[in-house]
């Protein structure tokens, strides 16, 4: 598949580029490519990685602020995908399936980071050392960013998907394997907690 056909355009490494999100259900997927990749064709697998890596990077960037972390998690996502390709059904919504793997992997990593933070609070800095520390950013959103990062991953993920990734409630529920009511409750709690953290009223 030519790079012009890609739903997202890859740019320079480490660049911070705004891209318009395409709905995962409407992304163009080559069914034959998936069949070939499923059969173990490495060039088809590489083509799939090339086609979908901007989408995966984009989703992971919503939760992690260090490029190396984003790259590591993206690699994990694709390794999971390629080792479980036998579970992929070519007629199913492949980008949606990949988005679900990506969000689950991010959730696992955020939970791990949260446990490390808790360990740090209990046992000291040596045991709870963070994998990497995001560089300070030259903007005035430090307090908001801190508030967002302090949220429990199960509240933070739906909030970020809704507000930043602009997913619908239905898309979030599908990607996180939750009911729509559950997503709404989590969004409500996330907004309340963020407001409480910021010392203000309900957002």
């Amino acid at each position: 598949m030519a790079s012009d056909d890609l739903p997202f355009m890859a740019g320079d490494s480490g660049s911070v580029t705004p891209l318009k999100r395409a709905a995962y259900s409407t992304m163009d997927v080559d069914r034959d490519l998936i069949l070939l990749a499923r059969a173990g064709d490495s060039s088809a697998q590489a083509a799939i990685v090339k086609q979908f890596s901007p989408m995966v990077f984009r989703l992971i960037s919503r939760f992690f602020r260090v490029r190396e972390d984003v790259e590591d998690i993206a690699q994990d996502v694709f390794i999971k995908l390629l080792t479980r390709f036998d579970q992929v059904r070519p007629d199913d919504n492949f980008p949606g399936w990949l988005a679900r793997i990506t969000i689950n992997t991010c959730y696992d990593e955020l939970r791990r980071m949260q446990r490390r933070r808790t360990a740090m609070e209990i046992f000291g800095p040596e045991l709870g050392k963070e994998r990497s520390v995001a560089p300070p950013e030259a903007d005035s959103f430090d307090r908001l960013r801190e508030g967002l990062q302090a949220l429990d991953p199960k509240l933070r993920i739906p909030l970020v998907l809704k507000e930043v990734e602009e997913m619908s409630i239905e898309e979030i529920s599908r990607n996180m394997g939750l009911t729509q009511t559950n997503v709404k409750v989590r969004l409500f709690r996330a907004r309340n907690k963020l407001a409480k953290f910021l010392g203000g009223n309900k957002i």
């Binding site: 890859a10 740019g11 320079d12 490494s13 480490g14 660049s15 911070v16 580029t17 705004p18 891209l19 490495s42 697998q45 590489a46 990685v49 090339k50 890596s53 901007p54 990077f57 984009r58 992971i60 960037s61 919503r62 602020r65 490029r67 984003v70 790259e71 993206a74 690699q75 694709f78 390794i79 390629l82 080792t83 479980r84 036998d86 579970q87 903007d139 959103f141 908001l144 960013r145 970020v160 507000e163 930043v164 602009e166 963020l194 957002i203």
Partner: protein, 114 residues
């Protein structure tokens, strides 16, 4: 509220993109993983539970076969004596209480042959 909307808008702009060698790195990691993988990794995930059950049953059978003692048909004394027995003695010792006249005639015939 406006501040939060600005923050989310700012967050929307922050996207990392893969570099040109990302695909090669993933494929290299995948082939490395395939080299490191054992037999278990080669089995398709859906059939692993069936295979695990089959292997477990096979191991149980082998364990029973090897470790549970089997009652021998004859002891060491019988085995030694059997090698020294002639056909007539074997017939007499292996015979039953119900053997009658025919049996005796058979024995006499065997004695005659010897």
């Amino acid at each position: 509220m406006k501040r939060l909307a600005e923050f989310f808008q700012h967050e929307r702009q922050r996207i990392f993109l893969p570099d040109q060698y990302f695909v090669q790195r993933v494929m290299a990691k995948l082939s490395q993983k395939a080299e490191d993988a054992g037999v278990w990794e080669m089995v398709p995930r859906p059939s692993r539970s069936v295979l695990a059950l089959a292997v477990a049953l096979l191991l149980c059978f082998l364990a029973l076969d090897n470790f549970v003692p089997v009652m021998p048909k004859q002891g060491p004394v019988d085995m030694t004596l059997e090698s020294e027995q002639g056909p007539v003695e074997s017939r007499v010792l292996g015979g039953t209480e119900d053997d009658g006249h025919e049996f005796i005639e058979e024995l006499i015939a065997m004695e005659g042959e010897q």
